[in-house]
Amino acid sequence: MQTIVYILPEIFLSLAIMFLLMLGVFIKKSFKLVYLLTILSLIFAIALVLNQPNEIVKVFNESYIIDRLSIFMKVLTLLFCFFVLLSSKDYIKNNNIDKIEYPIIILASTLGMILMISSYDLIIFYLGLELQSLGLYILASFKRDDERSTEAGLKYFVLSALASGLLLYGCSLIYGFTGSTNFEIISANLDEANTGAVFGIVFIIVGLAFKVSAVPFHMWTPDVYEGSPTSVTSFFALVPKIAAISVFIRFMYVPFVNVISQWQTIIIFLSIASMILGAVAAIGQSNIKRLMAYSSIGHMGYALAGLAPGTNAGIQSTIIYLTIYLVMNLGAFGCIFMMKRENIFYENINDLSGLSKNQPMLALSFLIILFSLAGIPPLAGFFAKFHVFMAVIEVKMYALAIIGLVTTVISAFYYLRIIKVIYFDKPKKPFEESYDWGLKISLILSSILILTYFIYPSILVDTISSILIY
């Protein structure tokens, strides 16, 4: 009974989901109420997570772990889920996807992610993964009447099911060759000579790479990002990445820690391929959501580069990268939500032309976010890359560092192209001024954080290094 205390946030979220479902079914036209209650329950869940003990606890036969890493990642997940919901309200209303299921499915999917983050056992991990994926399939095709949305949902479902299958096969191999599903026992039984288990590792990494959309398992990303409603895209670009990266970290540093030489090459390959494709393929895009898809592939490449060295500084840099990436993308999608005229949302980059004349403040914050995504100092995006390359160069992986920085220059080109459209091109019809305060708050918050990060970068660095102390 005492162990239940440790999973209070999860229990609370499950109860909230069930309650909201009932509420939505029995009260007619209750979308607004459900939406509000979802947001409130996210805040309450954050409070519950923060209230968890500041020690390492493994509960339920050591299959579930609560440590500082998991607490940090859970807070990030819930927080950005909160911001995504906050900033996309206007979009949801205008696109007729304001059904009560929408926030509830997001909440369920988030619950799945939280289970993944804390999992310390292959079975719990897989259950969490499936819960979050099922939610995401529905979300991608949420705009039922829209062909592209339906296509996105179907594509994501088929490919993701395949990846889950591979992952599950990997899990069964690992179980077969090490005799357990518990992470620590796996870690103790794994060694280089255990060829079967090494195959299992490869399959698991493939499955995870699919979830973070690393090349060559990225095929679904551009289509799903473009086809899904933008509110769902922004959810896709932010929240599932946290859980996926966190599981990546957990896998590499608990069960697979002894076979680092086996997976290091794979990670380096995934990272380099993602960085290059993310930089090159985005150049030709004219749809801003598609461009953001390639940009997120590239960014995940940098985040994985931090994992490649296999050092503590490396994990730290990946978490820093992830955090800053989330803030930047929140801002970027905030700007995309602002591209609205007469209740129609625009997605083409050329629609932004002359934004600097029509809405100078919005243009300025988009400018800051884009330069930050490109990694130009003194904005936060530069520091994210700086830490990753610090970790990479420490172990003398110069090739990875040089390729990474050269792709930064290439990717700077397409961010500059958006800035060119905003600032250098002739003004078109202006977008409407948005009165949605939730959207405004998240946009202003993210631009200010990006802009002022350089004043005292220690805040984030210290927090993150403190969560990695065991």
Binding site: F371, P378, F382, F389, A401, I402, A412, P457, S458, D462
Partner: protein, 500 residues
Amino acid sequence: MNFPILSAIIFIPLIGALFILVTKEEQKAVVKNSKYVAIFSSLTNFFLSIFLWYSFDTSTSEFQFVEEKNWMEGFINFQLGIDGISILFILLTTFITPICIFSGINSIRFKLKEFLIAILVMETFMLGVFCSLDLVIFYLFFEGGLIPMFLIIGIWGGPKRVYSAFKFFLFTLLGSVLMLIAIISIYWITGTTDVIKLLDIRIPQEYQYLLWLAFFSSFAVKLPMWPFHTWLPDAHVEAPTAGSVILAAILLKMAGYGFMRFSLGLFPVASDYFTPLIFTLSIIAIIYTSLVALMQDDMKKLIAYSSVAHMGFVTIGIFSLTKQGLEGSIIQMMSHGLISAALFLCVGVVYDRLHSRMISSYGGLVNIMPKYAFVFMIFVLAALGLPGTSGFVGEFLILVGTFQINIFVAVLASLGVILAAAYMLWLYKRVIFGKMASSEIKEMADLNKTEIYIFASLVFLTLFFGIYPEPLFNTIDISVSNLIDNYQTDLNFYLVQTNN
């Protein structure tokens, strides 16, 4: 003295920019207010830096006004400080920025508020480069300057502005990312990025060559050296006058400063090893770009190419590693800062009136714009290094310094002086004398009041430092001697090490 004067100098323009950003009133009032704020903050900064120069101790080569703050704990401290070399660059920056602001107010016709913000932010970044005593902080400011410059070229530039802005941004970024790798490598080799500590630590010889090349890639693009100079003519031509002035007068100097402070200071062996490379590239730059300049139809392009040639002198002077050569390089950078700024302003004056940069659209200006003809003459003569102007002092010293090291290089470099005379005088002849190219020229007005004040200050300084350069030498003397001494002892240390 506890007042953080360097931080104040760096951040006053930024505060000014923020102030302009948040003002909200009627359009007219905003523009008026932002003008006053910009002028006020840049002039305050200028006087503050004069005060800095006044209280600067010229009898020591130590870094002064050092400030240190915790920044990224355990890694990097935010450290500022200046010595005799950097203070001159700070003065140049704070002097040129108000000139750019006045010129911008005089000639920019739209989005003036944003323009002033960009210039002020730019000033912060430039001053940061010259003050920072930590490699990471240096990099931060060095790269950050790309953002406002990209916008200045792209928004207020000429017809091909988009292409030029992109070329400028991507070229410079590509050069600098290699420097970032080098900076991080230095951290892992020596355990610090603190410049004061690094100057005492001897970086192992085998690392020096690659690190030097990485720094070189960044500085060579920024300076720019042949064959990395192709972004410069484009950027200069398309940028608005104030943008060209900042580019030519200060941005290029960052690289010269970087060569002196970092390449010589941190990697003496590699600097010694690569000196022939620098000499070759610089000689090619001087002769080749001077010849190219001769054939230009576009005034701004001509001055841009002449900048590359002048910067060739600077690198030769720096890597001659003689006292005359190094001091000459610093003086040359100062005087080029004044002269190129003035020349671009001169082009700006006629461009504002006729909207053409082509040499062939002018002619006979002496008849209608006598004041302009006079001012232009002084700067043309200064650019070709006539004795009595600051241009002469720098070039002469560089040649003297180089002569002691390598006669061949010195002789080839002096060819550049002759070629400079050729293209500058020919330019002057075609624009100022001869027949008027069109009837529109007759309606051009002579210099207005703002322009006269701007040019008067520039003329004064150019002639003053040409006739009496002592204050400059006095400031840099000890720092330069110290730089050379350190370099020689380090070099000997490594030589002994290799021989054993």
